[in-house]
């Protein structure tokens, strides 16, 4: 079990770390899409 972000970065497999980062990045365009900021 990971209780903190430090636990996660220290013990998660490299791919999981990358995946979590990618998901966090994906949330940015998702948020813009949801809040209409990207709509022309």
């Amino acid at each position: 079990m990971f209780s903190t972000l430090q636990d996660f970065t220290a013990h998660a497999k490299g791919t999981s770390y990358l995946l979590a980062g990618l998901i966090l990045l994906t949330f940015i365009p998702f948020w813009f899409f949801l809040t209409k900021k990207g709509k022309k």
């Binding site: 990971f2 998660a12 497999k13 995946l19 979590a20 998901i23 949330f27 949801l34 709509k39």
Partner: protein, 384 residues
Amino acid sequence: MNAVKPRLITPFNVVAGLILLFGGVIIALRFTQGLSFATNLSHATTWGLWTGFKLVFVALAASGYTLTTAVYIFGMHEYHPLVRPSVLAGFIGYTLFIFILLFDLGRAWRIYYPFLVQPGPTSALFEIALCVGLYYTTQFLELTPIGFEWLGMKRWRKVFVGGTVGMTIFGLVLSMLHQSTLGALFLTVPTKLHPLWYSPYIPLHFFLSSAMGGISMVILVGMLSKRIFSHKMEISRETLDKLTVGLAKGAAIALAVYFAVKLVDLSIAGKWHYLFTPTGVWFLFEVLGFVLLPCLLFAHGHREKKPRLIRFTALLTVLGIILNRINIAIVVFNYDLPAAERYVPHWMEYVVVLTLITGGVAAFKWIVQRMPVLHDHPDYKASH
């Protein structure tokens, strides 16, 4: 508005009456003949369809805590017209949970044991019993102003309305505790539950999915109330559409977070290879069809202001919650047992579930037709 007197003989009442009558006989048989007569449960499989629907009822009853939190804690007062029907739907959900728990317990008459006789404070079940008991009481107190308005008891109404914010905070804390602990129950069966559904984070999965189920239920309750009780509901179709579009944003975010947590969980535990099995395809059907797809549809519906699409998506999400809980409780539980030894629910178990759902809908209808749930009581319009 209240001049229309409800008729007793209607198609709904007749069908519901027949189901309740037949279901009542089956429930009587369960109590007189025992669990082995009415269910296919065994010592190998002690959690069956009724346990699955306990999880479903509690997850969908999250409509109460999600909306009261939005309105009374985050100050989204525009959603206030939907608070009472949502809390009532949640209260009825918990009532169904308690009923089905009583049917599922071997010795139902010992329901008070966890509180008074043998409290086991280190047990997940003790925490669930305590939290559900307290939250059920809290929801009842949250609903008492409706009854007091109906009965004309102004002083008592004032007392209980004064405690709304406190009860909301208390209810939110209790909901976070027991929604997640229902998932924690499955931490005790790591070898019985399929690895794609089992996770050390399953309490988090249960809590997050309850939030998205709760918001979806608010959308559906609002739609059905407007469609069936339009003469009782004060807010206009346009206002309801606007609220529905707003709720879709919250639902999309909840679903996106849940999907992300499920995805990271697959990676942390190294479960990718399970996806290329028949059970993996079933898992993908659940996660892509009832989590990712609704997330995108909610986002699209919110952005383009499409209330009809959002209502359809809310139904899809609720079906997804039912699928998830039934998968965990039945379909992928004891997954490695030979087919001949696998649990298949008895037909009486289905009848009891149908009876309870019918009873819940009938109770909601009875209350809404009589009490100020969908409209403001004329004496208290200014205070809402």
